[in-house]
Symmetry: C2
Subunit: 301 residues, 2 copies
């Protein structure tokens, strides 16, 4: 009854006003699965190169993360080099080396094809659609993340896969560019026409919006004294949100609000250190305390 | 036991993607008092010209708004002409005619000098300080709004008046420019050193943040199908927030959260029509319904 996640596993070189790190674990499937596995078992489908070694496998060990779909192949892993200025909302890409990721052609292990929950991380929509078609049974829900690169450059394929999707997770600019609308309620109306019945708009330091047929929900981000590195915050949010939903097994609005809270809190940890470091080290008590602090912050008596 | 408001009363020419209006009532004291008077009696100190006639006086009639400090003088009222593109967060000023406002030198009527609550709208900080000094008794609290024009151009005077202030209301860019910090928790620390113990950061369509010694609060904006005109939204928020606080008579965190909700809901009405039109027409039931809808939206079970 796992949550199947398809995406990238990468090495990142990161530079932010708080410092720099080279060759640290990144990629959507890494951030997503480390976050989601706090709530529900995860199966990962991704591709890595020979530079992905014992130290990296160890990060996922001892967690309910099944790496049976992680293909290790000759060559180097996907490598991204990025830089942030004082405005941490905007990353500047310095280098992108696709390496073995250029040949990524997800082939789901038989045991993964009946997963009841599916997250399609931000990869080529043609591959996302191919994954959907490999499923032996239609999952209870399918969630998808994408980006402007595909919205602008692969729109027909993206529109095709969107027809199969229940939950779309994008940032504000992506939601607007996908629909041509600026007003987010109108954006949601158009997204529904494209397929997804649930829309999550990620707003970085401004939090998130959730649109559902039952109603909407808005949550701020958790205020922090220091944000060291925003890389992976969106995938960590998606992991908390969808991991919580998979564990709950329902999609009613009250559950989705609690799931949004889980995602928001997980993302708030992600940005407090570089890469996946803070989420790797997260203890149950840290999580529970911040959930309580967050609920108190937004509670009106 | 009124809430004393000092600011501008103006005529605006407004152009937004939803249409245009010429010569409609505007100015910080207009937006503020129409909003605040829903919660608590307001006394207004401002200056207008001969173009401010019976139709304008009528807008304030039948409400607990005391215009005893509204000076009408030969000449024309403050006139602002502004334009918004599809990004409604940013106004483009086309024309500013200060007119009689250039000679504004607030002189509080004797009956206003013992007001227990004082709001200093966005005017020259030298005038704001002069108003504070005219008070016969120190108000229970003093709130202040300002803008980058004064932060950049009249910093020494602004720092002087901030020493007298309890509640500072500014937008994000202003809060950062005033303190030289980007992180908002650090911004709040520096603001406290300058005087105000309570900070409200207005974020437009992203809502607001409230920082107090007791803790903080964050609320999103209310999602709307159409925003016709954002002019005056900040002053309408301030009116709802401070009017609610004046009526409650306390500054504990639970009360301030409810006040922030009142301000957020009032601002959500303000932007649904041009100038003060929607707030003028607001019925008790409209307000109560939206407060309930908003509480439901942010509630987590």
């Amino acid at each position: 009854m796992s949550l199947l996640a398809v995406g990238s596993v990468a090495f990142d070189d990161l530079e932010t006003p708080s410092g720099r790190r080279d060759n640290i674990l990144g990629g959507s499937a890494s951030h997503f699965s480390l976050s989601a596995s706090r709530f529900h078992p995860v199966q990962v489908v991704a591709i890595v190169g020979e530079d992905f070694g014992p130290a990296e496998y160890r990060v996922f060990e001892g967690r309910p993360i099944d790496l049976g779909g992680l293909v290790r192949t000759p060559g180097m892993s996907f490598h991204w080099k990025g830089q942030y200025g004082t405005d941490l909302n905007e990353a500047r890409t310095l280098e992108t080396h696709l390496n073995v990721f250029a040949g990524f052609k997800p082939d789901l292990p038989a045991a993964f094809r009946t997963a009841p929950y599916l997250f399609l991380g931000n990869i080529d929509p043609t591959l996302q659609l191919d994954v959907v078609r490999q499923m032996a049974t239609r999952p209870a829900w399918i969630a998808l993340d994408t980006m402007n690169f595909w919205i602008d450059g692969a729109r027909p394929a993206l529109l095709e896969v969107l027809k199969e999707i229940d939950i779309l997770l994008v940032n504000e600019a992506e939601a607007r560019s996908l629909t041509g609308e600026r007003n987010l309620l109108k954006v949601y109306g158009k997204i529904r026409d494209l397929g997804p019945r649930i829309l999550v708009v990620k707003r970085g330091e401004y939090g998130m919006l959730l649109f559902t047929p039952e109603g909407f929900f808005a949550a701020p981000a958790f205020p922090l004294e220091e944000v060291k590195d925003p890389t992976g915050a969106g995938d960590t949010f998606a992991g908390g949100f969808l991991g919580y939903l998979a564990a709950a097994g329902t999609l009613d609005l009250a559950t989705m609000k609690r799931a949004a809270l889980a995602g928001t809190v997980m993302a708030s940890f992600a940005v407090q250190d570089f890469g996946t470091e803070r989420v790797q080290a997260l203890q149950d008590g840290d999580y529970a305390n911040r959930v309580e602090a967050f609920k108190e912050m937004i509670r009106i008596g």
